[in-house]
Subunit: 143 residues, 2 copies
């Protein structure tokens, strides 16, 4: 997502229009790699550039950016949705390490599940298209 024109084309393919609000929301997410921003955090950050934006617009925009695979929705079981920029533009999200003591979130960038997925597809007659994996435990600081 280098420029605005590209975003405009992608939106148009789905029948959506390019608005300053949509541009601002995507910008905020792209400017915060690895941050796992909550909707509320995104709303607060977007309001700096876009003071009149409504929370509902942020929710709506996050939905369509997720649908377009530009961003990824993350559920960390803490009661709110989080989002991050989908760098690889694929539909396999990376895995997350979540420290149950301090709440720090780390990312596992390698995709280690390939052999396991092949095994499951065979054993369970199931075609896997995506996965979500979270590891809970203690980070080096908290241990």
């Amino acid at each position: 997502m280098d420029n605005v024109k590209e975003l405009k084309v992608m939106l148009k393919e789905k029948g959506y229009k390019l608005t300053p609000q949509r541009r601002a929301v995507l910008n905020i997410i792209m400017e915060n790699p690895g941050k796992h921003l909550t909707t509320e955090e995104i709303y607060d950050l977007v309001k700096v550039q876009c003071p009149d934006i409504g929370l509902a617009t942020v929710y709506r925009t996050l939905q369509i950016l997720d649908e377009m695979d530009l961003i990824m929705k993350i559920n960390l079981d803490d009661g709110c949705s989080r989002y991050e920029y989908n760098v690889h533009q694929d539909d396999h999200e990376h895995h997350h390490l979540i420290c149950t003591n301090c709440g720090k979130i780390m990312e596992v960038n390698e995709d280690l599940l390939d052999s396991i997925e092949a095994q499951i597809e065979k054993d369970y007659d199931f075609t896997i298209t995506d996965h979500k994996v979270k590891f809970f435990g203690l980070c080096s600081t908290c241990r």
Copy 2:
């Protein structure tokens, strides 16, 4: 969890009392293995035996049963919490296969992550205590 006496002892260890409502909620979950019941579904089923139970009591009971590792909370990203009986009484839940077409949920009973976890613990200096794994895709019927 064979009998009431055992539940009573386990509750007492945490300073809780045994009530008919708590017994009924656990019974419903034990009677529906592999069903991934939502809180609302549990509420409806419990009301058969326990017509006056309040929804808040179901929520509270599910919390303490989860805390006691008697049941397991499952988040399938569909906007509500689900629960199932923790057969193995350990803190590692099994993995879930979720059909994105029909919504069917299957379980992967083997724990296939051991070698991956060892790798991550070494690479990321992180002590893993639990994991949550969901595979999304198409079941044999929908494919």
